[in-house]
Amino acid sequence: MSTATIAVPTRRASAVWSALRETGPIGLASAAVIVVALLVTIFGPLIAPADPYLGQLSNSYVGPGPGAPLGYDGAGRDVLSRVLAGARTSMLGPFFVVILCLAAGTLLAVWTSWVRGTVDAVVSSVLDILFAFPGILLAILATAIFGKGLTAATFALAIAYTPYVARTLRGAALRERSLLYISALEVQGASAWAICFRHVIPNIVPLILAQATTLFGYAMVDLAAISFLSLGVQPPFPDWGVMISENLSGAVQGFPLAALSAGLCIVVVVISFSLLGQRLHENYEARR
């Protein structure tokens, strides 16, 4: 008789695609919007019709016209070009926040759910205390310490979001750990390391993916708010948050288009991420 084999439920990278397919028309439409946003992130500065930095003051707050479908901003720069070029910081900032807090949150969740006991209790209460810091406040503190800019705000938001990730994933990891196949692997002599990285984490990938999608939207709003408060990306660099801040006075004077164009980009991307995140989460819950 051969050695006992145990059916181990593993899902690999293809899980991402099958998870996407199961989100239905709304999920797929949201994914399509996100793909467009990613393409603009990569190619935005290349397809911008005009120089996003160069303006003519005589064009200040001139409305849409030939060659400038979204008009000009307060400094007479082409709004469409700035929106296209601004996708880069507006999308990459949240991307790094999500990567950082997911890495930290996943490791914390798997580690504490594996060792349990005192470590789990201590880490959980530290995370509870971190909940007392709203993300924006932590980001403002970070920019006060390390100076204005996207880097400090990105790290601060990642720290602020980690408790949310860790708490959600810890529950899933605990559930996974109590399953029979984990005990079977332990009996077979698999190392804790191997079980966590080859089995527990791959099996909670759908939930990690759902979290990533939802958090991306939050991170985008919070980072844009930091830039809007002139503590994040610095003008004249094109960024959607910066554009809203720069053109606030235009809105007060009756020329809201420049600020609204950037605002609309944020809203559309955030809605897409939140709808897709919701669908992914529902599918994960349904499969449980």
Binding site: V126, A132, L137, L141, L229, L231, P256, L260, G263, I266
Partner: protein
């Protein structure tokens, strides 16, 4: 000691621990910040060694870190948050001058959330059909509106377009202040209001599907009593949770709205202090904001145990 008292005592202890750690993080992180406080104090001029000694002594910079933290914390507990480097005034005084503006704004937004967020949610949950559909659509749009975008839209429509409300500044006297704060409060409340409406609607729906409600319907209990006694009392827990959490989060995001509408509140002041590296102010405001945030969360916890006494027996409801 009764169970509820023990529950409150535990919550108060956790609040104290949270505040202690938060204050340590706030003080410690700014202590580690690059840059020499003396250089900031002297404005970059080089000072004679005696003057440096004097300044170091006055600001306790010659003490070890933990002593400095202890001095700062015990002073803070007496309401002394140090002196602003840029304005040369008491931080507590500067904070007190601006706290009213922010408190008014957050309170206004909180009232909007409680009336319209919960109200819309109840409407959608209790009245299926086109009313419910319009609640869903409205809340979906409003949930995705960050405060800074909502501010631009409100200014463009109601201030510049219709001329109903001012777009900048705060008013004199109560009525005028409320009038000036209307657009800022709506901008601040927009996305939280939608989240509260969504959760309220969902929990009312869920309760209607429960067996005890179905039983009550078959027993012939009149509709108003059914809603009041069987649906709302059970739906109250998730509604309180989400309302409390979203209102607590307004405290920090008020900074965005204050910047958008040119209001002179705590958030706007925190941002300008962070900009000018006025650390005593940054520490003071952060401490106050975290304190309020934690207290609001405590109030929500106490409300829970009043709504549902079972909670003080076990863990906190999620």
């Amino acid at each position: 000691m009764s169970v509820q008292l023990r529950f409150f005592a535990r919550r108060l202890l956790m609040l104290a621990a949270t505040l202690l750690v938060a204050s340590f993080v706030i003080f410690g992180s700014l202590y580690l910040a690059p840059g020499n406080p003396i250089a900031v104090l002297s404005g970059g001029r080089s000072l004679p060694p005696d003057a440096i000694k004097l300044l170091e002594h006055r600001y306790h910079l010659d003490e070890p870190f933990l002593t400095q933290y202890w001095i700062w914390l015990s002073n803070a507990s007496h309401g002394d948050l140090g002196i602003s480097i840029t304005l040369r005034e008491d931080v507590s005084l500067l904070i007190a001058q601006r706290a009213g503006s922010t408190a008014g704004l957050v309170l206004y937004a909180a009232i909007l959330i409680m009336i319209f967020g919960v109200g819309l949610g109840l409407l959608g949950g209790l009245k299926p059909g086109w009313i419910d559909t319009s609640v869903i659509v409205t809340s979906a749009i409003s949930a995705a509106l960050p405060a800074f975008v909502a501010a631009i839209v409100l200014i463009a429509v109601f201030s510049v377009g219709l001329g109903w409300f001012p777009s900048l500044g705060s008013g004199q006297g109560l009525l005028d202040a409320v009038y000036h704060d209307t657009l800022p409060a709506i901008a601040l409340a927009a996305s939280s209001l939608a989240i509260v409406a969504r959760v309220t609607r969902a929990s009312v729906r869920e309760e209607f599907g429960r067996e005890h409600v179905q039983t009550a319907i078959s027993r012939g209990i009149p509709y108003p009593a059914l809603v009041r006694r069987h649906v709302l009392r059970n739906a109250a827990i998730p509604i309180t949770t989400i309302t409390g959490v979203t209102i607590a989060s307004l405290i920090a995001s008020a900074a965005v709205v204050e910047r958008a509408f040119g209001l002179n509140g705590l958030g706007a002041y925190l941002v300008s202090a962070a900009n000018s590296k006025d650390f005593a102010v940054v520490q003071g405001i952060s401490l106050v904001l975290v304190l309020v945030f934690v207290i609001v969360n405590l109030v929500v916890d106490v409300l829970y145990s009043l709504i549902d006494p079972r909670i003080s027996l076990g863990s906190r409801a999620q």
